[in-house]
């Protein structure tokens, strides 16, 4: 079944980003949220039908290895829904000037379109285009905070990001040079003969490093603490919550479809372990809540890389659980940290100023650590049981890393919770100033409250979510079905002669 509505995932947000200069003010402000709502509805619809069977769309009606293909399985559909919902929750409603607000809203919509495109694209070069689109919109939003520090950080991010894009493009070029096609399904079909050798692996590692920049992979994640400490909370939440997950999803897809090799998995495993160790220990050392959250997000993505390195659908299920959990928790934490920047010591007593904010922080922190009834526990449980089932000792070592870093995570997060409920601030020199600074605005509380509601809903529904999660992982792992759907037998034989 081909589904022409699939293209709207990309087309609607872009249309809403382009059109505002032509429209009067009132409609202009509604256009973006409306487009995102429609995409969210489309995501729900797609998720429901793809749980039964994946759908694909040949853009422009050109038969698949020639034109670009969108492929939506239940994983992609869920990410389409998540992109639209999270962007909506983090929507920039207010700006300093009307012009700048227009620009920020346009960039946010472009980012949403790019993320949706990354989730559904079935073509390697198309993935690169959407990745680059997400990157450029991300630079604009990160620099849009307006402070000099944000601009300096964004400039460094731009340089590293461009290097990453270049490496990824080089990897894609090598693959095209070797296999003569860019279609993921066609590549999956041809890979055993053409790409499963050192040449193909080199191309994969280049793409891994390149897309790893956005996925906060170890070695290329140095931008993250600076950006997240200086950009607006909303933007940090978008970059850490959404963009990193989509880059991760693309890498996981590539690993499953084209490079299901032990060497590729090993690289993911080792880089993931290093990312988890460095991230969590750096978060432990961080003296500023935003940097601490940034390092912790590097650690969490390291855990997701470890999970995706486990062969089979067990690993995919664990990776998806970790990625989706982080997608819910980290944006909310960044929202809460908006007014809590600066040294950790300044947080003392903040719980008295905004008890609800402090309670939300505690909830998200507990889930991040993995305290049982919360979803974070199930994510880590899946990861550890997946690791324990592997015969290789390296996987056992990774399990040890996960346990040790969980302890570290618990220590630094509880330190912050303790600090929030401490008693210094009320008696410090400038209580007036402090009160102004630390009380969280209602919009922030509403935003992170919505994330908390989602998190609790997932916690309550956990027993009913295991089956769909397993189904999603199975679907994502089934590369034969992917090839069969995108390239029905006639097309394959014709294109490969």
């Amino acid at each position: 079944m081909s589904h022409s509505l699939l293209a709207l995932v990309v087309a609607l947000p872009l249309l809403a980003a382009f059109l505002p200069p032509l429209l009067p003010g009132a409609i202009r402000r509604l256009l973006g949220p409306l487009a995102l709502l429609l995409v969210a509805a489309l995501g729900v619809y797609l998720w429901r039908i793809t749980l039964i069977e994946p759908v694909s769309l040949a853009l422009g009606d050109f038969r698949p290895p020639l034109g670009v293909v969108f492929y939506v399985d239940s994983v992609a559909a869920l990410f389409v829904l998540a992109v639209a919902l999270v962007t909506l929750l983090l929507w920039p409603w207010r700006g300093d000037t009307s012009e700048n607000l227009d620009r920020k809203q346009s960039l946010t919509l472009v980012l949403a379109a790019a993320c949706g495109g990354l989730a559904v694209s079935g073509d390697l070069f198309n993935v690169y285009v959407f990745y680059e689109l997400a990157a450029v919109a991300g630079y604009g939003l990160a620099a849009g905070g307006g402070t000099a520090a944000a601009r300096v950080a964004t400039f460094r991010y731009l340089i590293l990001g461009s290097l990453g894009s270049l490496l990824a493009l080089l990897g894609i070029t090598l693959i095209y040079f070797r296999a003569g096609t860019l279609n993921l399904a066609h590549l999956a079909d041809l890979a055993p003969q053409t790409l499963h050798d050192p040449f193909g692996l080199a191309a994969f590692f280049l793409i891994l490093l390149g897309l790893g920049v956005k996925a906060e992979l170890f070695l290329v994640n140095t931008w993250a603490p600076e950006i997240y400490a200086t950009a607006e909370a909303r933007v940090s939440a978008l970059l850490a919550g959404l963009v990193s997950k989509l880059a991760l999803l693309v890498l996981a897809r590539l690993l499953v479809l084209v490079f299901p090799l032990p060497e590729a998995r090993g690289a993911l495993l080792i880089l993931g372990m290093l990312g988890m160790l460095t991230g969590e220990f750096a978060a432990f050392r961080a003296r500023d809540i935003k940097r601490m959250l940034a390092w912790s997000s590097i650690g969490q993505l390291g855990a997701a890389f470890i999970a995706f390195s486990i062969p089979g659908s067990l690993g995919l299920a664990a990776g998806l659980a970790i990625a989706l959990h982080h997608l819910l928790v980290k944006p909310a934490l960044f929202l809460l940290a908006e007014r809590w920047g600066g040294g950790l010591a300044r947080l003392a007593g903040a719980a008295r100023r905004s008890p609800f904010g402090a309670a939300l922080f505690a909830l998200f922190a507990l889930s991040l650590i993995g305290v049982p009834p919360l979803p974070g526990f199930w994510a880590k449980y899946l990861l550890l049981s997946g690791l324990a089932a592997q015969p290789d000792n390296l996987y056992l070592l990774a399990g040890l890393v996960v346990l040790v870093t969980t302890v570290v995570e618990a220590v630094y997060l509880f330190r912050v919770i303790g600090m929030l409920h401490g008693r210094d601030a009320a008696h410090s020199e400038k209580p007036q100033n402090m009160a102004l600074d630390m009380t969280l605005p209602a919009s922030t509380l509403a935003g992170s409250g919505a994330f908390a509601a989602l998190l609790l809903a997932v916690a309550l529904a956990a027993p009913w979510l295991t089956a769909p999660l397993a189904r999603m992982a199975l679907q994502m792992n089934d590369s034969a079905a992917y090839v069969a759907r995108v390239l029905p037998a006639t097309a394959t034989s014709e294109a490969t002669k």
Binding site: S4, L14, L19, L22, L59, G60, P65, G117, V129, L133
Partner: protein, 232 residues
């Protein structure tokens, strides 16, 4: 010091990796599975004499939409960074118009540049060129007069309107295919006669939108940078 050696080491290692990769491959005979199939059928299926255009707008039209959006995002980001910071600095140095020869030269060039730009755009499906190249020429046509007479700047608002309209036309043309039960960005109206000005279906419409969008974006980007320089 250490970072400099590190960078050097990385560059050397990277060069060595590329050298090894490329020497390990046989020269001159890459498999062209998708490429050859495209060359064989593009002219008859799409009807564009310029096969590059058939690939850019038809087979990989979604990539072109992405590239357009990247340009849009870059221009918007520059507006966000420059628009908010330097407004408060005031007008800066007074701007003087250029000399007589410069002004007369620009007046002479303006219509020619417009003609060449639009020619390149509307023949994009027939000859080398197209929306991106023609759009750059159009941007030059509108930036030159401002360089000659800095007092008369173009309205950013008007440029944003052109840009929005062009982007909207591209996507709506693509969505129009849905009404005929075709997929997004499928070329409509049939391929027509190969080599005729009115051929290749809706591709010329798409290229016109690309050209206007690229032209408006690039012109407003250049003008914003020049305004910023004058202000600083």
């Amino acid at each position: 010091m250490l970072t400099r050696y590190g960078t050097l080491l990385f560059a050397a290692g990277f060069a060595f990796l590329l050298f090894v990769l490329f020497t390990s491959q046989p020269l001159g005979a890459p498999p062209m599975l998708a490429g050859q199939a495209l060359l064989d059928e593009a002219a008859t299926t799409v009807g564009a004499a310029n096969i590059v255009t058939a690939v850019v707008l038809a087979y990989r039209g979604i990539d072109t939409l992405g590239e357009l959006s990247i340009l849009f995002a870059a221009a918007t980001a520059v507006g966000l960074v420059l628009g908010s910071a330097h407004r408060t600095l005031g007008a800066g140095a007074p701007r003087e118009p250029g000399g007589f020869i410069l002004r007369a030269g620009v007046d002479f060039l303006f219509p020619l540049l417009l003609l060449v730009g639009f020619y390149i755009i509307v023949h994009g499906h027939l000859t080398p060129g197209g929306g991106f190249q023609g759009g750059v020429v159009l941007a030059a046509a509108f930036v030159l007069p401002v360089l000659a007479r800095p007092t008369e700047t173009l309205s950013h608002k008007a440029m944003a309107r052109v840009e929005g309209l062009a982007g909207g036309v591209f996507i709506l043309t693509g969505l129009g295919a849905l009404a005929f039960d075709r997929a997004f960005l499928a070329p409509l109206l049939g391929p027509g006669q190969l080599g005729a000005l009115l051929s290749a279906g809706t591709l010329p419409v798409l290229y016109l939108a690309v050209g206007l969008k690229v032209g408006a974006e690039l012109a407003s980007l250049l003008l914003r940078l020049s305004e910023d320089e004058a202000d600083a």
